[in-house]
Symmetry: C2
Subunit: 314 residues, 2 copies
């Protein structure tokens, strides 16, 4: 049983290592949706994404002995940067397993935060084998980007902060990729709200979480291509039961809606969000009447984009 | 004599029509500069730029009779949108003289805010003649984008708010184009601070304000091309004496520094700023020791960019 006290302590533990990110509102989105929309801006989080929360929390829950041996993860995305920066902040060694064909810009970001990159072939087997090897070699602790209870709780602090900042939300919307953020939000809403519903949003092209909830079995097949690169991953056996228990439902959006939502946020709100962060916002473009007349919090998950490769077309 | 009371009243008058924009800080820029930098985010202002302040203020100081006859301006930039939106908010008619070759996206923005566009040839004579004609025809009041005392005071409320939010600033930096914002900031710092210096920053390629201060005569020749499109204009006889009296000095930055500063703000702060807004921030890239160990407020003047035409190169 994860108590409210434990969760509050989790937030207190990570606070010195994260930003208490602001909540923004927008007349445009309020008018368009007929609801009050509160954007929890973790694009302003350290290293540019909510992943910093889970990485820092997981490390802070390690024993001194574990900390002295460092941490290992495999990721080519925001979690790699989060583990690198959190490890540096806490004085730990971080081993980051990355595919050898990962973009140089992502490798440089990890190196910039002090992570040690170990390159492997671009297959799931290769990266898992290498991570296991590093765990064996250094006695380091493996941190999974989304299927780890302390990572999940850390990510959930985004929702906890949001509920502290904006009381009485009817709903909280978050993107679903590996499921860590969504599970964390569900857990926090269950423990700290009076009936706030948590809704996951994912691309139709990558609706494994939707199908997992429908079937009751984790789906690990991808049937399309989504621009939301942070969401190209599957649920895990630790976060799936939490999602089943605490998430109201999962909604899906189209690729064109994701790009349009991203463009509208850039143009109207003047803030930079990444494609994965645009996924829940894209739901505001639907004409679903269920969206109106509510107080809705949306987690903006990150703002790391490649400015040389933007999806906007004239 | 413009009293403190008049200026406070100006701010109170426009408050219902503008956003009280946030002040952001950034570890990156603090580390890089050795100073504490406070960014006054008027890119989050209504219609995306500080120009809303001056337009609203100038209209609010009109008599009922004047208001009933509407307002005229000539601009193809942010001031055209500001006058259109402020006029709609106050129930006035707005006539916007624009060059016939102005980008369709800018015309659409003006129409979207309810302004009536009158197209003319793309020459200074043509737009001034047409504006005069509209003033005669409708008895409308002409509002100059930068050389009008009530516009200047309105723009200055950005600095007044900033000083209310962040006390004891050593310096306030603002971009210089037509000089309205800079003059307004100088006036406010003179009336409401204990020695806060106001510094204008402009591109080397368009350093008419620098040369105007050096020579004591308004310079109206342009010798280069700047990406900071909002600054491609000259000082006027109303704002120049205020600038001479209340501005400490004008610093200049290079085109490459402007683009680099814009990119760094997008990447590190995750906020969208336009090239003109990057001009004072570009000064932080210099290695001038005069920048260190201070509390510096920087006015981020706007965030209106064409996402299909960004200056970032790989």
């Amino acid at each position: 049983m994860i108590t409210r006290e434990y969760l509050r302590e989790s937030h207190s533990l990570i606070k010195p290592y994260i930003h208490d990110t602001p909540v923004l509102t927008s007349q445009y989105w309020d008018d368009r949706s007929g609801s009050q929309i509160f954007f929890k801006c973790d694009n302003f989080q350290k290293m540019g994404a909510f992943k910093m929360r889970g990485a820092a929390h997981a490390m802070l829950r390690l024993s001194d002995k574990e900390r002295s041996r460092g941490v290992v993860t495999h990721s080519s995305g925001n979690f790699a940067q989060a583990v690198s920066l959190a490890a540096r902040s806490l004085g730990l060694k971080a081993y980051i397993v990355m595919p050898e064909n990962a973009p140089e810009v992502k490798k440089n970001a990890v190196r910039g935060y002090g992570g040690e990159i170990i390159e492997v072939e671009s297959t799931a087997q290769a990266r898992e084998a290498k991570a296991d090897e590093l765990v064996q070699q250094y006695g380091a602790t493996f941190l999974h980007p989304s299927n780890d209870l302390n990572v999940i709780i850390g990510q959930g602090t985004a929702a906890l902060e949001l509920m502290d900042q904006i009381p009485d939300l009817d709903e909280i919307w978050a993107p679903v990729g590996g499921g860590g953020l969504l599970a964390g939000c569900g857990l926090m809403a269950d423990r700290f709200s009076d009936g706030t519903q948590v809704i996951g949003v994912e691309p139709y092209e990558m609706d494994d979480a939707y199908r997992s909830l429908e079937t009751g079995v984790i789906q690990i097949d991808q049937h399309g291509y989504t621009i939301a690169d942070g969401l190209r991953t599957f649920l895990g056996d630790i976060n799936f039961p939490i999602i089943q228990q605490h998430i109201d439902r999962i909604e899906r959006v189209k690729e064109g809606e994701i790009i349009e939502a991203m463009r509208l946020v850039w143009e109207r709100m003047k803030i930079i969000i990444e494609p994965s962060a645009a996924v829940p916002i894209a739901r505001l473009l639907s004409h679903d009447e269920a969206i109106a007349n509510k107080r809705i919090g949306i987690i903006i998950s990150g703002g790391n984009v490649d400015l040389q490769n933007l999806p906007f077309k004239s």
